[in-house]
């Protein structure tokens, strides 16, 4: 049953790692703006030139 001491120790250590990860995230400002990243991730990486022309074509056709 002495195993319990070790298990509890490890579980607390693991939990501490997550707590420290939260501290780091908070300190680096990741919790300051929770809105913009949700929009930002929807942008295409590099605007595709061909696609742009296509959308212009669309306007012309319409």
């Amino acid at each position: 049953m002495n195993m319990i001491y070790m298990l509890i120790g490890f579980s607390i250590l693991l939990a501490l790692v997550f707590l420290l990860a939260f501290f780091w995230a908070s300190k680096s400002g990741q919790n300051d703006d929770l809105f913009t990243p949700a929009i930002r991730m929807l942008f295409d990486d590099e605007p595709d030139i061909g696609k742009d022309e296509l959308s212009d074509e669309d306007h012309k056709k319409a």
């Binding site: 049953m1 319990i4 001491y5 509890i8 607390i12 939990a15 501490l16 707590l19 939260f22 501290f23 908070s26 300190k27 919790n31 300051d32 703006d33 809105f35 913009t36 929009i39 930002r40 929807l42 942008f43 295409d44 605007p47 030139i49 742009d52 959308s55 212009d56 306007h59 012309k60 319409a62």
Partner: protein, 796 residues
């Protein structure tokens, strides 16, 4: 769908969506309403950033307003003050850009490096409408960066009172979250280690008991010293000032809990109350976080400095040079260009002054000034450049000295909240019970005396009571927010419930600045109306636009020989008829003008005039009737009294209608009402109400665009929710009732716990159950009942 799209593109500006004038600006196959919009489009398409128009249809903002001059950004002192960080290579600056409104804005602002590679990085914070820019200052100056932003249609608003800076240095929410994280972490672990104790331990498992106890005690230390620190500090400072607030019994309970638990664990006499301690602090901090969660992207603290520019152009020895506003002295000669604001009271020396005082008075009619006349600060020059001599420093001007009124210094921080009043009595009763329980047992059993004394302090720790206000008020705050009524903090809700006097400003507050109606006097056939509409369609002047909107006719005839004299009138030949629109002077009439009038001349024949009339906000009539039942209504207007007969029926007592009020008059009037014992709510909009808004118990700024600047106030109300004011007041009163009810519930829990505590029979298990149970009851009760009342008041 596609046809609709093409239709809208043909008649609307591709960039901003405004109606196209008769001769639109074109670039490729795109049409634009003005040179500004076209310019932005050309920059973007040239740098291959046309996706801006793909993410959203019509993402741009109108570029008709002339941009400011940014020469002052070349001044190293000003530049250094604005920057977040600067070394010899890179500069980091955060700018507030009111035009940010859609995903295209974010996309474009974060792709600025494609236009100028010297901009290393740009990050947008959408809710705060801020952009953080990192650029190489050797290759691009701050001024060039700001001008680039302006060129793509995102002019930053740079002001003296740097709201941006203040928000950045404010890490209180971050710190609170960290405290919650620590408390939550310890709470979870302690609960896990306490469970075996709750279910009882066999003799074999007893060996773990002390180990678990010690680990628990270790977890309690950061909760006590870090997470709960603010309660001890607050209780101590208040106690020093002779105030018993709710933090006192909380701090006492936490301290006693820790000491008794430590004693029990160290002496192996019991399991202690560590689990209760951790859950208590965790829930308390969550309540605090709920209460603090305000809409920080709205600023309620703006004063005149937000309206004024950072610098003015000083003329010295015939040379122009930017000067920071706070260095402006009496006798300085300054240059005000078109569209700039006059920052201090000054005498007109040169040029033609025509000033728009709508910032100050809410009245948009321009005022002309002649040479040698004193011009008050706050006006915006709409004609060409003028030269002035400063007669009063910025802080002593007619308008700005309202803010330096010392009456504001002390007030407002001490709104009497229910929990503050209740906690005073609560603390005293609690101490009396604890001491008498201890004294009762002291003669028979010293251990029991200590046990009962500490147990009373632990069990009666007003956790549920401390949570009832934050949770109720936070729920109401979010309900108000959904209805576009934004409060500065939760204490305003309790103050709102006490309001018995309501003071309105007129222009822009009870009238709708957007919608205008016209009254036509004279003779005009349908055919002639069509001609007038066709001509007016070509003009960008607000009155012409309103007139076109009001006439509601589609365009039919093209216009020849179109001519517009800005601010005077239009003329042109439509379908063979000679049409002239505009002011009396423009048409060569000898009439006196009253208000905004558009006269009409068809083929040299006078046909009459359109008089622009203001419209009341929707629902003002019903609102006045409803509010009249529960509160005293007053009106303070800076205008002439020509509307008195229309407004009189809304205000039962005629002596409560006041016209031609200066900002100082308004402030004094509020003060007079307060001295007679009234709780005053003031609704205003312009800078001229700012003093009164600040003085009143609740100052509400009414605005049609919440991102516009509104004067310093306690709450911002969107114009569309104007008619809901009676519901808001009702909801605030209901919220106070919910707080009272939850207070009763938490006291009942306390009495149940006290019943065991005074007998010295309180077990840790009982405390561990009772405390979270009462807390959760309160959270559920307050949140649900606040929403129930909101539904009843039609606010959900």
């Amino acid at each position: 769908m596609k046809e609709n799209l093409s239709l809208s593109i043909d008649t609307q500006c591709y960039h901003c969506g405004d109606d196209l004038p008769a001769a639109p600006y074109t670039s490729g196959d795109k049409h634009f309403c003005c040179l500004g919009c076209k310019g932005v489009y050309q920059i973007l398409s040239h740098h291959n950033l046309s996706s801006y128009y793909a993410y959203n249809e019509i993402p741009g903002a109108s570029q008709k307003k002339a941009a400011q001059h940014f020469d002052y950004l070349d001044d190293t002192k000003i530049a250094a003050e604005l920057a977040d960080y600067a070394d010899e290579n890179t500069t980091v600056i955060t700018l507030f850009i009111p035009a940010i409104h859609c995903s295209s804005c974010i996309w474009l602002l974060e792709n600025l490096y494609k236009i100028n590679p010297a901009i290393v990085q740009s990050r947008t914070d959408f809710l705060k409408k801020q952009v953080s820019l990192t650029f190489k200052n050797q290759q691009i100056s701050l001024r060039k960066t700001v001008e680039l932003l302006t060129a793509v249609g995102y002019e930053p608003l740079i002001s003296l009172q740097d709201v941006v800076k203040k928000q950045q240095s404010d890490h209180s929410e971050r710190n609170l979250l960290t405290k919650i994280a620590v408390a939550g972490f310890c709470f979870g672990n302690v609960m896990l280690l306490s469970f075996p104790e709750y279910f009882g331990l066999s003799t074999f498992e007893k060996t773990f008991q002390h180990f678990f106890g010690w680990v628990n005690l270790v977890f309690a230390v950061p909760v006590l010293l870090y997470s709960a620190r603010d309660y001890f500090i607050s209780a101590w400072t208040n106690l020093k000032n002779g105030i018993l607030n709710l933090d006192f019994p909380l701090a006492l309970g936490i301290a006693v809990m820790f000491i008794r638990s430590a004693y029990e664990i160290i002496t192996h006499t019991g399991a202690g109350f560590i689990d209760t301690l951790c859950s208590l602090v965790f829930f308390l901090l969550i309540g605090k976080w709920m209460q603090q969660r305000t809409y920080h992207y709205l600023s309620f603290e703006r004063d005149y400095r937000s309206y004024f520019p950072v610098a003015v152009t000083l003329i010295k020895d015939g040379k122009e040079k930017p000067l920071p506003l706070n260095e402006l002295k009496i006798g300085d000669r300054i240059l005000i260009r078109s569209n700039e604001i006059i920052p201090a009271d000054a005498i007109l020396l040169k040029g033609e002054a025509e000033l728009d005082f709508s910032f100050v008075t809410g009245e948009s009619l321009a005022i002309k000034k002649v040479l040698g006349e004193v011009i008050y600060a706050g006006g915006r020059q709409i004609k060409g450049a003028i030269e002035l001599e400063v007669v009063k420093p910025v802080s002593q001007s007619y308008l700005t000295k309202l803010w330096n009124n010392e009456t504001f210094a002390a007030r407002k921080d001490n709104i009497k909240t229910f929990s503050n009043t209740a906690s005073k009595y609560f603390s005293i009763v609690l101490l009396v019970i604890a001491i008498s329980a201890g004294l009762f047992w002291i003669s028979t059993d010293i251990n029991k005396a200590v046990a009962s004394f500490t147990a009373v302090l632990i069990i009666a720790c007003p956790c549920a009571l401390a949570l009832s206000s934050p949770f109720t008020l936070a729920a109401v705050l979010s309900i108000f927010d959904k209805n576009k009524f934004y409060l500065k903090n939760t204490a305003i809700i309790e103050e709102l419930a006490r309001i018995d006097t309501i003071v309105f400003d007129k222009t822009g507050t009870i009238t709708n600045p957007e919608a205008k109606g016209f009254e036509f006097t004279g003779n005009l056939s349908q055919e002639e109306k069509q001609l007038v509409s066709d001509l007016a369609r070509n003009s960008g002047h607000p009155l012409s636009r309103e007139l076109v909107k009001w006439l509601n006719l589609s365009s039919l005839h093209p216009v020849d020989q179109y001519m517009e004299k800005v601010g005077r009138g239009l003329s042109g030949s439509v379908n063979g008829h000679e049409i002239k629109l505009g002011s009396a002077a423009f048409l060569g009439l000898t009439q006196q003008e009253k208000g905004s009038v558009v006269h009409i001349l068809v083929d040299g024949k006078y046909c009459g005039y359109f008089l622009s009339a203001q419209l009341w906000r929707t629902g003002f009539r019903q609102l006045a009737v409803k509010l009249g039942h529960q509160a005293d209504l007053h009106l303070l207007s800076g205008d002439q009294d020509h509307d008195q007969h229309i407004l009189a029926p809304f205000f039962p007592k005629t002596n409560q209608l006041h016209f031609k009020q200066s900002p100082q008059n308004k402030l004094d009037y509020i003060l007079k009402l307060q001295n007679s014992g009234a709780k005053v709510m003031m609704l205003g909009d312009g800078l001229n109400d700012a003093g009164a808004l600040k003085q009143s118990n609740i100052g509400v700024a009414v605005t049609d665009n919440i991102n516009n600047f509104s004067p310093g106030c306690d709450a911002i109300l969107d114009g569309v929710s104007f008619e809901k004011i009676p519901q808001f007041i009702k909801q605030a009163k209901d919220a106070v009732r919910v707080i009272h009810m939850s207070f009763v519930i938490s006291v009942l829990y306390n009495i149940a716990g006290l019943f065991f505590a005074v007998q010295g029979l309180l077990s840790p298990l009982m405390a561990a159950i009772l405390m979270p149970l009462s807390t959760i009851t309160i959270i559920l009760f307050t949140s649900i009942s606040a929403r129930f009342y909101a539904a009843k008041n039609n606010l959900l």
